[in-house]
């Protein structure tokens, strides 16, 4: 080919062969490109640009090399109107577990419920919560709930299961066979209606109701007294003197959330109110109520009836009536003292008993009647329905089942094989039933034996209603669509009845025809419904009042028989061992055993978790060579009915001599991964004692300590406060004289010259007068907290609320034994000691029946924070609002801050607690479902970082933003910490000291002077004032209502 001679030139410069062009012709890169270090004037920073670009491309290349996991993120096609990412929604609902009731407000984020708080509008639960309520949101995301209905253990469909059950029901009904619906207490009137409808269809149906901890005796006594099987509605807030016979009304008895709030109302003190109620407790195990009592008498359970009759006798004496004949008890002086106080507070007193013995309850009724308490502190016109269990009916059901006379049985979300004393009989009898159905949410001990499981919704997925107290209604509304293929139990019953309505429609229809029709305030149903749904609770306008029941006029009660029975059944002297069963506040009846938050919640009294154990008195322990050192105890052998059971021993100050306590709710075998195999099941030990199921056994108990060492997971192993000023307390009479009574005056000795300079006479200055600290400026907010030791009953709601709010990990039993639990707020429980203040070793030993003080302990947000100065990388710093902030990202985990924290409230992530098989009991962080409960506003902390209470900084931030949008200062209503809002008694008050209208500033009588902050409330004190860390939490002295000690 001929060479192409045609020349294409790049520009006129080439054509002209200009020297400037020739120079660069053969260079690969033109000189003006910024490679040569920016020699050119106009490219001063080109080398940097090049480096930046290079850096970027290297970074981009390496980032691209990392494989980003593909996560599903599907945008809304049509966004629901109310769901805004990042903004929570709140819905009122109702927590119901058998007879346990709490009206709640549920917080949802992006459609996921993540937090449950009390509904302040509710008069029945009083706006507080208990730990179980707080933890219930986690149960929603329990992986071990049944994902679908099952037939004979095989997964099935609802059509299939409905067809089979209906066919079987029909065939049973056709031959006149017996059907039983077994349930725990049912608070829902709609569910009761559904059951009625079911009964109409299948007339041979019995509804059998039982309560794991039965109140049958009380119901029976009330039936005898008032002709109605009911529980009175108690008003502890109106009682000046309360006497409790083993009724743990602050912990587990009937409606503790409301009782706690009412009771503490009478315990609060301020400038205007300088009186408080007095509580007597007679009990065997140290309960939360006993721990809060002014006078607690540790008694054998076998004396309880006699104590009650003696009290009655004493009161009869005072009333000038004929006394009854009853054997005397050695505790008579205490009874007399209680009787004196009760008599003085006639009409403003209350006597309660936790006994299930109708004889005892009859006398208690008599006592309250004698004291004129009915209509004042007890209301029988609007009775409570928290406990409806009927032992007689349950017993006859069991015997019929055993005899094979029950053809079909439906367990309505209950688990009697586990939690009924005759569980074994039910288990055996179930085989004889043609049809057995359970609506449990999991394959529990009972459901595992039934042919069909039709799993119920979690309450947060359900529609329902409740009438816990006559005339007080509330609604349960779903806050998330069902996670699994489950169906509301009520709807299942409707389906089996042949009614294809949804439960929601049915519920609405009932409300429309019932409560809506009976009122006239709201004229259209939708408004009425929406309003009720919004409020969560509904009280019909007081129209017709239920017929007054006059107690005194009732004379059918044969009190003498009751007295005789008591004299026969109870003993003034018993040399045998006694076993007293009880419910723990956290795990309760065991329904929630698979909830790790509850399992890890330390018991308010024993501070032990993840176990049940035999509580023994100190003297027994000493006599039997059991010494608990650092939670290391011995394994004991409990012999009961000839059966030997190994059970750990826990030495419990306050345990009555000769008695042993054991909690029910443990020993589950099919609760799930978390709850299985923890402790032993104590339900079978509940004994039929003279016609009623008794939690106490007066004989036939033997306990032997073995040499086997057993470690109990206890979060607190030193039980006394060693006479330190950590706990400051006084007697009411002292307080009345001097509101600052009990306050320790702490001073620092210094040179007199220095003291003079400060304007003081002596060489003693208050701590803080001499300081190296310059102080912090808080220009806008200054967050603080006031904790009233008088209001804190120690229930532990705050601990669980905090755990839920702040994604606090569960660490499991072994790590609690290793003393590494993560709770940001703990409740320190201190026993008093008999030793004098300078007896170092003696102070370590609690009294045999100690005074108990509860102290919620959380990060004190010190103004002169010792943790902040020692962190090498400034991972913990001070905010301009007085908060002691923790920057997890910056933390390198030297733990220096925790060492230097005088309150020991910092918690270290010893391991990776999330996505780690070793910590698989930490459900909220180890499976995808559990993770849905996590609060998206709070980081899940990684291994190796320190964490601690933040004063719920995310809530502060949210509240501030809300206020800012409205152009105002945030108020108390905008911001509250999780612990404070969970507290049923208002013992924790959080707020802004810079806001003179805030409750905390008012409570503390806070005055801001230049450089000095003054807290003028005489009861308020800082723990460890002497080290001048200047906490932002003030505690109010504990005041007990005891008689003045005679000097």
């Amino acid at each position: 080919m001929e060479k192409n001679k045609k020349l294409y030139w790049k520009g006129i410069e080439q054509l002209n062969k200009e020297p400037e062009f020739e120079k660069f012709l053969n260079k690969e890169f033109p000189e003006y490109l910024p490679i040569n270090g920016g020699k050119e004037e106009n490219s001063g920073s080109s080398r940097r640009d090049f480096l930046k670009l290079m850096g970027f491309s290297v970074a981009a290349a390496s980032l691209a090399a990392c494989e980003a996991p593909v996560r599903k993120a599907i945008p809304y096609l049509n966004k629901p109107v109310e769901v805004n990412p990042g903004i929570p929604n709140y819905y009122a609902s109702t927590y119901v577990n058998g007879g346990d009731y709490c009206s709640v407000v549920v917080k949802t984020r992006e459609g996921r419920p993540i937090k449950v708080d009390g509904n302040k509008l509710s008069k029945v639960s009083g706006g507080g919560t208990l730990p179980q309520v707080q933890a219930s949101v986690l149960s929603l995301y329990d992986q071990e709930r049944l994902p679908a209905p099952s037939i004979g253990g095989e997964k099935s469909t609802w059509e299939e299961i409905d067809n089979q059950i209906k066919t079987k029901l029909a065939s049973i009904s056709a031959k006149g066979g017996k059907i039983a619906i077994v349930s725990k207490t049912i608070l829902s009137p709609t569910t009761l209606k559904v059951i009625e409808e079911f009964k109409e269809n299948y007339p041979e149906t019995d509804l059998v109701i039982y309560d794991p901890i039965s109140s049958s005796g009380m119901l029976k006594a009330n039936q005898l007294t008032f002709g109605q099987r009911l529980l009175p509605n108690y008003s502890f807030d109106k009682a000046d003197v309360i006497v409790s016979f083993s009724a743990d009304f602050l912990g587990t008895w009937i409606n503790p959330v409301k009782f706690s709030s009412d009771f503490t109302k009478t315990r609060k003190l301020d400038d205007k109110k300088k009186t408080m109620s007095r509580l007597y407790a007679f009990e065997s195990n140290l309960s939360l109520t006993g721990a809060n009592a002014d006078y607690r008498v540790a008694v054998r359970a076998s004396k309880e009836g006699l104590l009650v009759s003696n009290l009655y006798n004493e009161l009869l004496k005072k009333a000038g009536l004929t006394t009854i004949r009853t054997s005397s008890v050695e505790e008579l002086p205490a009874i007399q003292k209680a009787a004196n106080d009760l008599w003085k507070a006639k009409g403003k007193s209350l006597v309660v008993s936790g006994s299930n013995d109708e004889n005892v309850q009859l006398i208690v009724n008599k006592i309250n009647d004698l004291l004129g308490n009915y209509g004042k502190t007890l209301d029988i016109t609007a009775p409570a329905k928290f406990r409806q269990g009927n032992e007689g009916e349950m017993d006859s059901f069991i015997s019929q089942l055993s005899a094979g006379r029950v053809n079909g049985v439906i367990f309505l979300g209950c688990n009697p094989v586990y939690d009924h004393p005759k569980g074994a009989e039910i288990k055996a009898g179930l085989e004889k039933a043609e049809l057995s159905v359970s609506t449990s949410d999991r394959k529990d001990e009972t459901a595992a034996l039934t042919g069909y499981i039709a799993p119920d919704h979690h309450y947060l997925e359900s529609w329902n209603d409740a009438e816990p107290v006559a005339g007080s209604y509330s609604l349960t509304q779903p806050v998330i669509s069902p996670l699994f293929n489950t169906r509301q139990a009520g709807e299942s019953l409707l389906k089996w009845t042949g009614n294809d309505q949804t439960y929601y429609d049915y519920l609405m229809a009932i409300w429309r025809s019932g409560l809506y029709a009976n009122q006239s305030d709201v004229l259209d149903f939708q408004t009425f419904w929406d309003k009720t749904l919004h409020d969560g609770v509904y009280t019909p306008p007081m129209g017709e009042s239920t017929d007054e029941t006059d107690v005194t006029s009732e004379s059918t009660v044969d009190i003498q028989t009751a007295i005789n029975n008591i004299s026969k059944n109870y003993k003034a002297e018993n040399s045998e061992n006694e076993l007293v069963l009880y419910e723990k506040i956290a795990v309760g009846d065991g329904t929630h055993a698979n909830n790790p938050w509850l399992q890890e919640m330390p018991d308010p009294i024993s501070k032990a978790c993840w176990d049940n154990y035999l509580t023994v008195s100190q003297s027994w322990a000493e006599a039997n060579g059991v010494k608990m050192v650092e939670a290391k105890s011995k394994l004991g052998v409990l012999t009961i009915d000839g059966q030997e059971i190994k059970v750990p021993i826990l030495v419990q100050p306050g345990q009555a001599e000769g008695t042993f306590g054991l909690a029910v709710g443990y020993g589950r075998t099919s609760a799930g991964k978390v709850g299985n195999g923890i402790g032993i099941n104590a339900y079978p030990f509940i004994q039929k004692n003279n016609n009623y199921y008794s939690l106490a056994r007066f004989e036939g108990i033997q306990v032997v300590a073995t040499d086997e060492i057993y470690e109990i997971a206890q979060t607190q192993t030193h039980h006394t406060f060693m006479g330190r000023a950590v706990i400051q307390e006084a007697n009411l009479s002292e307080y009345q004289k001097d509101p600052a009574a009990g306050r320790e005056s702490i001073h620092i000795a210094t040179s007199e010259a220095l003291a003079r300079e400060l304007g003081l006479e002596k060489g003693e200055v208050p701590p803080g007068a001499l300081t190296l600290w310059k102080g912090h400026e808080y220009p806008n907010h200054h967050w603080a907290m006031a904790i009233d030791l008088n209001s804190c009953t120690g229930c532990g709601s705050c601990t669980i609320a905090c755990q839920a709010e702040n994604n606090v990990p569960v660490v499991g039993k072994q790590e609690v034994i290793n003393r590494r639990e993560m709770h940001w707020i703990r409740i320190d429980r201190y026993y008093s000691s008999d030793a004098p203040k300078d007896d170092r070793l003696g102070l370590e030993v609690p009294s045999s029946n100690p005074e108990v003080t509860f102290m919620p302990m959380l990060c004190q947000q010190c103004n002169n924070a010792p943790c902040e100065t020692v962190c090498p990388v400034a991972a913990t710093t001070h905010s301009t609002e007085g908060l002691n902030q923790m920057t997890y990202n910056r933390c390198i985990g030297t733990r220096y801050c925790a060492n230097n924290c005088p309150y020991k409230v910092r918690r270290f992530n010893w391991f990776k607690y999330h996505d780690n098989k070793q910590f698989d009991t930490n459900l909220p962080m180890n499976n995808d479902l559990g993770k849905m409960v996590l609060n998206p506003d709070v980081t899940v902390r990684s291994r190796g970082v320190m964490e601690k209470c933040t004063f719920c900084v995310q809530r502060i931030q949210a509240g501030k933003l809300e206020a800012k949008k409205e152009g105002r200062r945030p108020t108390d209503d905008d911001i509250n910490t999780a612990c404070a809002s969970a507290c049923p008694t208002g013992g924790i008050v959080f707020g802004d000291l810079k806001d003179p209208n805030s409750e905390v500033a008012k409570l503390l009588k806070f005055k801001e002077e230049e450089k000095f902050q003054k807290v003028e409330e005489p009861r308020a004190y800082n723990v460890l004032e002497e080290i001048n860390v200047k906490p932002n939490i003030w505690y109010f002295t504990k005041i007990r209502n005891k008689d003045e000690k005679l000097a």
Partner: protein
Amino acid sequence: MEVVSSVRTPLVTSGKTVADVTEDICIRVEAAPPKTWMLAVLASLLLLGFGGFTLYYTIWDGIGMWGLNKTIGWAWDITNFVWWVGIGHAGTLISAILLLFRQKWRMSINRAAEAMTIFAVLCAAFFPLIHMGRLWVGFYWVLPLPNTFGSLWVNFNSPLLWDVFAISTYFTVSLVFWYLGLIPDFATIRDRAKNKVSKIIYGALSFGWTGGAKDWSRYETVSLILAGLATPLVLSVHTIVSFDFATSVIPGWHTTIFPPYFVAGAIFSGFAMVLTLMLITRKVYKLEDYITIGHIELMNIIILVTGSIVGIAYITEFFMAWYSGVPAEQYAFLNRMFGPYSWAYWTMMTCNVISPQLFWFKKIRTSLVATFILSIVVNIGMWFERFVIIVTSLHRDYIPSSWAKFSPTLYDIGDYVFTFGLFFTLFFLFAKFFPVINMAEVKSIIKAHTTTEKGEK
């Protein structure tokens, strides 16, 4: 060569000549290692291996492998750290302070002592590193480096940060000082080396040392400068380590006596460790003529003095606890003596206060066996001192509800063993490949007239 009064007892005995010195020391480097050495290295490597296993799990699974808890955030980790730092005090003290005081007896022991110092400081620095929850970021976040976190800087108020500076400075200066002394000796070995590899390696290590007058002059000058720099460091390092505790608010930590008390304790334990190692080296390498009973006695006297200072410090602490009138402080000290950890306290008291007093007896302080045993006892005592300070102060501080106890796990022990493995491995390698005695300096104290007195005992 210096002229020393002939009435002074010679520091090197048996009339060693300058040539003998070279021969005696270099032979260890040049000859094949003895079987005992092989066994010793093997044993050290075994310790290192076991420690490496536990260390792996500590780092892989987390600090939770140790026995620490919510109340006791430091235990063996920081105890070991302070213990090793303390041991790392003797070398520099011997070479720097004694150099400034013109104590010539230091010459035959300073090399090994300095080596020990460096290895001990390495072991010490290891603990603050691994005790961090997030080692992977912590190891450089504690340095005040310009960073990509905006204006985020380290917290200059934190004693832990001061530790970082103190330890790294001390380590650097000690290392340079040690290496500087090694240069003339490396040159000697280089010059004697017969095989090529040694020649090249020691040639490189000796930095082209010619032995000329200028070299020596610079050598002397730099030695003095470094000695001047190192002297305050000897005092400052442990002072700063003690600030970790002294600046805190925890009763039992919050004490102003800590700096002098810690420094005395450090020298006390450092000398004990030097003795432990020297007695073995002396025996194995037959260096009795270089490290004489006189040396041992002098070191024992230092132990006696510093041990007594430590004893007084313990008593002063108690007095101050009582005198302060602070209840928490008083409790902390009574609890030390009679509380759950009293056994640790009494171990410490016996080992640190009573046992060094035995050195008042000349018979004991010149006995090799007694010295060897006591040197180990002292270091056991000093370990317990740190344990007592750290663990017993933390385990019962202000709020009784949080009181707890600490018990070590396999991993606490293993990680401590790891540092022993590391220390001894390094030390044995040093003993084989480096001249264990500073030949150049020792030659300066060989008596000028030794030749005439050859054979004299």
